[in-house]
Symmetry: C2
Subunit: 350 residues, 2 copies
Amino acid sequence: MATLRDVAARAGVSASAVSYILRGDTRFQTETVERVRAAARELGYTANLSARILKAGRNGVIGVAVYALEAAQPMRLAAAITREAGERGLRVIVQETANSREGELQALERTTSQFCDGLIFSPAKVSAEEIKSHIGTKPMVWCEDFADEPLFDAVVTPSFEGARDAVRHLIAVGCRRIGILGIGAHEDARNKAVSDADGNSAFRAQRLRGALAALDEAGIEFEPDMAIACPWDFESGREAAHRLAARRTDDRLPVDGLFCLNDALAIGTARGFTDCGVRVPSDVAIIGFDGILEAAYTSPSISTVDIDYDDYARKALDLLVSRIERPSETTAPRRLVANYRLVQRESTAR
Amino acid sequence: MATLRDVAARAGVSASAVSYILRGDTRFQTETVERVRAAARELGYTANLSARILKAGRNGVIGVAVYALEAAQPMRLAAAITREAGERGLRVIVQETANSREGELQALERTTSQFCDGLIFSPAKVSAEEIKSHIGTKPMVWCEDFADEPLFDAVVTPSFEGARDAVRHLIAVGCRRIGILGIGAHEDARNKAVSDADGNSAFRAQRLRGALAALDEAGIEFEPDMAIACPWDFESGREAAHRLAARRTDDRLPVDGLFCLNDALAIGTARGFTDCGVRVPSDVAIIGFDGILEAAYTSPSISTVDIDYDDYARKALDLLVSRIERPSETTAPRRLVANYRLVQRESTAR
DNA sequence: TTGTATGCGTTATCAG
DNA sequence: CTGATAACGCATACAA
């Protein structure tokens, strides 16, 4: 690979001149500028980003750390960030944290952060204080931080509002026995006291709270055992549906409406009900959360709270870029909320 | 962030001693080793990977460049590579090329390659010669290179064999009028002459060839207009189904079996048929290709050729790591084929 | 067994 | 306007 010096030699100038000129410094003679540009083009020169960040602490690369590469929601966000960053002349690299403490620390202090000007990160196992001590001075935007006194800039999904609207929608189409699928194992819906023992799962809690608020305002009594804890994947949804179907009495399910805390759960649940001869939406209406693409192509298609990830990405990059460009500024952490809209599909059409 | 020198100062030794000791050199006194390790731990020292690759050309990071972050198949591969690399003590960063020449060149000569010991890449628009000239000496494994004289090590999916088995399966369940969905715009199924004008889409061509081979061996005449060109996404599948349904005569579709060149197409197609009152599998059987998770949770669930991406990842890393570890060795490019198995689900159950 | 010197490719400072 | 030169953090040959 051609280096700065190779270009300098070919153009007959110094390496520093090449560095300046290629980065757009205007104080050189047009003739010199031309010669250098030509030499760079001919050699196929590209600046080495590792050297650049080592020296300057900046290289135009943004890191994104996600909990899984095989989950639609985080990848939708990563894709939106990549698109939006591209329009701003930034590049993006993505790393998986595998939902593990180990993986999160790796992303924080090694791969992603060391290659990048800043980091967009949604930690699940690592606390804010730990992050503070591991990330150094590198700017970070925290996805889904609902802490009362945030330590970092954050963008959050409207989990409370979205969940509330989802359950309102179930009520509006006639559901009265409403279940909630996918709460954390440590959340006690009975007392509406939601703990956070399962890592930084504050956004789960938010969704539960929003759902309960909608029931409350409609004067619907909530049966605590209608809130089911499980992980957020297809198979967990399917299994939950099987268990619910097994609880039928006189061919009647314990629920007539089900709010799934994410879309993967909703898709799995719909499939599980189909396995058992339960009809969606006539026997039970289902609504999910996220707006992943697949939810529009299942049968029945799944109603959902569609998060506007382009908006999310834009806000995350606004926050991050402002910190990168003004590192000295120490304004208080800000929190922005992404847009969303309720999408009604077949799973609640009745 | 603490540097080598910080650790050295704290431990009262030279920077080079720290470098040696932390990477496991054994020729130091146990007492010194202990002191250095302790100092590193106390300061939370982590080696800077940018500096390391700049100096040594090695940092234990593997780059993966995929055409889309929102597509299940490439992310399944990226996730498998991340898992497998983790077990070998390597880290992975992922970059999106957005299926564009620009994006592919970026990955090649900037982000991914400059941060990594090597690259796993599936180019669509850039030719092998271009890659050769842009990547320098960095090892690369090419995914899905079917060139006659490969320039790089490659891992490929068994596109020919998998497609052949898929169509054999359709035939086995009684299909006789078999359509193929998702061929490239420039492929002429009529002449079985498959061009490659649409970038490096050789694997599309392989799948088509495999399908035609299965028809051939069963003595089934192939109607050229039963091979439909379209992109590989949900919506294209849905639209294709609508168009096929519009061609019904006497309530009979022009096809009774459909091989979709990937699973997203298959899911979209199944949904599209449902829209039009076409029943799957009784009116038309559908089989996809890839084995993405979602295909097991739709209704009907979709039969598919399930590629073993763990095997794929293992083979890709074997190739890449061997090149990284022995850069001088100039053995000819190798090509490995991933395992696969046919998964029968509801969409072909008849 | 340990330390010193050098360089990877870049940017920034300073002198001319 | 341009060019030396010194870092950035690390690894390594070589000296001690």
